[in-house]
Structures are given as C-alpha cells and as structure tokens.
C-alpha cells in the first residue's frame, strides 16, 4: 500500500516535469521563430549577424534578464525576442531542478533533497559568477 503511493507520487513528479519541459521548449522556440521573423522585417534579410548585438554579453544571468526588460538593445526587437527565448530555455531545466528540490523536501527524502539542492546551487553560482 505504502509502496504504491510512493510510486504514484513519483509518477506525479514525472508528469509535472514532463509538462514543464515541453511547455518551456515550445515557448522558447516560438520566441526564436518570432525573433527570426522580426529580424527579417527590420533588416530585409536573414543573414547571420557577424557581430555586435547578436552576441550575448552580460555580467550575470540576472543582469541579462533585467537588461532585456529594461530595453537595452531595444533598437532590435528581433534580438530581444531571441534573448528572451534563450532565457526561457535556460529557465526550463533550471526550474525543473528547483522543482525537484521542493518535491524531495516535501517528501522528506534527505538524500535526494541534498543531491538536487547541490545541483541547483552549482547552477546558480555558475549563472551568477561568470
């Protein structure tokens, strides 16, 4: 009885993770497509940009996000949409990791709570300090 409910709950985690991943990917790909279309509308071509704005260069992921919303690079909506797509794509597995930490904490599974927490901390540090 107990075993079955464990499997059931893990099944719920898997279902939620599956939905999270697919929605994140679809949303980000739509943003990328929108970015490409906007790029064509504003530049009249879809050539690969060799420099400047096309390159992402921010201090941290959060400055990347805030610059995006503050309108830095608003001269290019296309680039903003593409950046937003990247942000969504990055957040998809990141949220999956955070979500797993919460799940295992609620289940009081200390081993997996620590393991997933470790991954989240490593990722967060890497997103913040590069």
């Amino acid at each position: 009885m107990v075993k079955q409910s464990t499997a059931e709950r893990e099944g719920r985690l898997e279902g939620a993770i599956g939905r999270l991943l697919i929605s994140g990917v679809i949303l980000s790909l739509l943003l990328e497509v929108a970015g490409i279309v906007l790029f064509y509308l504003s530049n009249g071509n879809v050539a690969i940009a060799a420099g400047g704005l096309a390159f992402v260069r921010s201090e941290t992921f959060f400055t990347f996000l805030s610059e995006l919303f503050a309108g830095k690079g608003s001269e290019g909506w296309a680039i903003r949409f593409m950046s937003l797509g990247v942000a969504v794509l990055i957040l998809t597995p990141y949220l999956r990791a955070v979500f797993s930490v919460v799940f295992f904490a609620a289940r009081r599974n200390v081993k997996y709570f620590l393991m997933t927490l470790f991954v989240v901390i490593v990722l967060t540090i890497s997103l913040l300090y590069h």
Binding site: E10, G11, L13, E14, G15, I17, G18, R19, L20, L21, I22, G24, V25, S28, L29, E32, V33, G35, I36, F39, V46, A47, I48, A49, A54, F55, V56, R57, S58, E59, T60, F61, F64, I79, M82, S83, G85, V86, L89, I90, T92, P93, Y94, R96, A97, S100, K111, Y112, M115, T116, F118, V119, V122, L123, S126, L127, H130
Partner: protein, 271 residues
C-alpha cells in the same frame, strides 16, 4: 539564418537517428562555412537544451527515464560541463578541432550493451542506498522489467568525463552517456537512452551558464539552430523504430567519418 534553419532540420533528424545529436553534426558544418569554432560551440550548446528537453519530456511521461538515476548523475555531469565550458573559453581554438575529432572517434568504440541486465544480481549496496533502481514496462516483451544500477561511483566518474566533453565541445554527448549507463551502471538500453536525454538538458544548461557571459553566444546562429534541430529530432524520433539497424549503422559510420575528417582537416590547416 534561413539556410541554417533549413540545414538544421535534416541534421536534427540524422542526429536523432544516429544518436549523435544535432550539435555534434552542426558544429563541424558551421566550422566548414567559416564560423569561428568557439562561437559555433557556444551557440550550439544552447540548442542542445531545446532538443534534449523536448524529447526528454516524452520519455519521462512514458516512465522510461529514471528521474532519480538522472538526478544522481547530474551532480557529476553539471560540474563536468562547467569545467569543460570554462576550459573552452580559455584555450586556443585550434586544440578544439582535435578534441572534437577525438571525442567523435570514441563513439566508434561504443559497445552496445548486448547482455540483459542481471536483475538484482551485482546490485551494489550503495546503489540501493541511493535508490538507483526502478522498473519500466517493456513494450516488446510485454512485461515489466526491474533493474538496479551497478557501480554508482565509477558511473559517476564516467559521467563527469561525459559532462566535461559536452561542456567543452558544445554538444550533448548523449551517445557517450548511454555507453556509460549501459556498460558501467548496467542499465537496460531503453532506460539508458531515455535517462541520457534527460541528463543532457541539465548538462547543456550548465555549459550554457558559462557561455552566456563569454561573448561567444551568437543569437542569430542559435535561434535557427534550436528551432531546426528540435523539429528534425522530433521527426527522427518518430521514424526511428521503422528503420533497419543495418541502415542506421551505415549512416552512423558515414556521418562520423566525414565529421572527424572535417575537424582534423580544419585543425591541421589552422595549426
């Protein structure tokens, strides 16, 4: 961008059929067209998140991927990927051609797990303590198959190497991860490939977290690549079961040989 998008669809398709992944094929192609290798690597790494998360979601819902095994192994791959990506931002680009070719060559050495996993047998105490076990319903056998992972420490180290290569080269290194899971952890092949897909997304995120701030990530490269390879991979996943193993093997050897030749040539001329 349009031509890159159009190229990316068949590349994603072939990448998914051969298990190489779209990025491993696209990076040499981009290098061929004169895109700097580091820029190609950084931009491809982002598209790997899309391709793998897209296909992982299906496997997770079918309960083929083992989420716990994945989370245990991610501890190793994410550290490996961050170190690998950091190395790439520092070292001279010319080395990367040779590393890329060498890593592609390792995919020839794959010994596909032929043996059935011995259930319960050789089941490491540590594995049980780490809850690295599970069961899945095998469609072909019409029964549930239970398994326990073997040698979790060695498997973790193997995954660290996989993560290092993935981060350094901007690829998913999925085939290598499957090899580690089948041959060291002794997981059933279907579970290994499904779980690998799941881990690749997290590894790519770790690598991307480094490239995002390196000034190497070109959005106009990344956008068409992510869209194209994901579409191609989805189509590939659908026809995979309908193709014969012989054709796939031939395709695999052909593609890997061409890619290795291209990267070696590029490495030699830019030495």
């Amino acid at each position: 961008m349009l031509s890159l998008l159009i190229i990316s669809i068949p590349v994603g398709f072939i990448g998914s059929l051969t298990g190489l992944g779209g990025a491993s094929i696209l990076i040499p192609i981009m290098v061929f067209f004169g895109i700097p290798v580091k820029v190609a690597i950084a931009s491809a790494m982002v598209s790997v998140i899309a391709t793998s998360s897209g296909s992982a979601s299906a496997y997770v819902r079918e309960r083929l991927a083992n989420v716990k095994v994945a989370m245990y192994l991610e501890v190793f791959t994410s550290i490996g990927a961050i170190i690998g990506a950091t190395i790439t931002t520092f070292i001279p680009a010319v080395y990367l051609y040779f590393f890329f070719a060498a890593f592609l060559a390792t995919s020839f050495l794959q010994v596909r797990g032929r043996r059935e996993t011995a259930q319960g047998e050789g089941a490491n105490r540590l594995s049980r303590r780490l809850e690295l076990e599970g069961a899945y319903f095998d469609e072909a056998k019409q029964r549930s198959v239970a398994y326990v992972a073997d040698r979790p420490v060695l498997g973790g180290l193997g995954m660290m190497v996989a993560g290092l290569a993935a981060g350094m080269l901007g690829i998913g290194a999925g085939a290598f991860k499957v090899t580690v899971q089948e041959n060291i952890l002794k997981l059933p092949p279907k579970v290994a490939s499904a779980t690998s897909n799941f881990i690749v997304g997290m590894t790519a995120l770790a690598g991307t977290s480094v490239y995002l701030f390196s000034g190497l990530l070109n959005l106009t490269l990344m956008a068409p690549m992510a869209v194209g390879t994901t579409i191609g991979a989805v189509i590939g996943g659908r026809v995979l079961n309908r193709l014969s193993g012989g054709i796939l093997r031939l395709l695999f050897y052909f593609v890997v040989s061409v890619l290795i030749a291209q990267m070696l040539y590029k490495g030699v001329v830019s030495w």
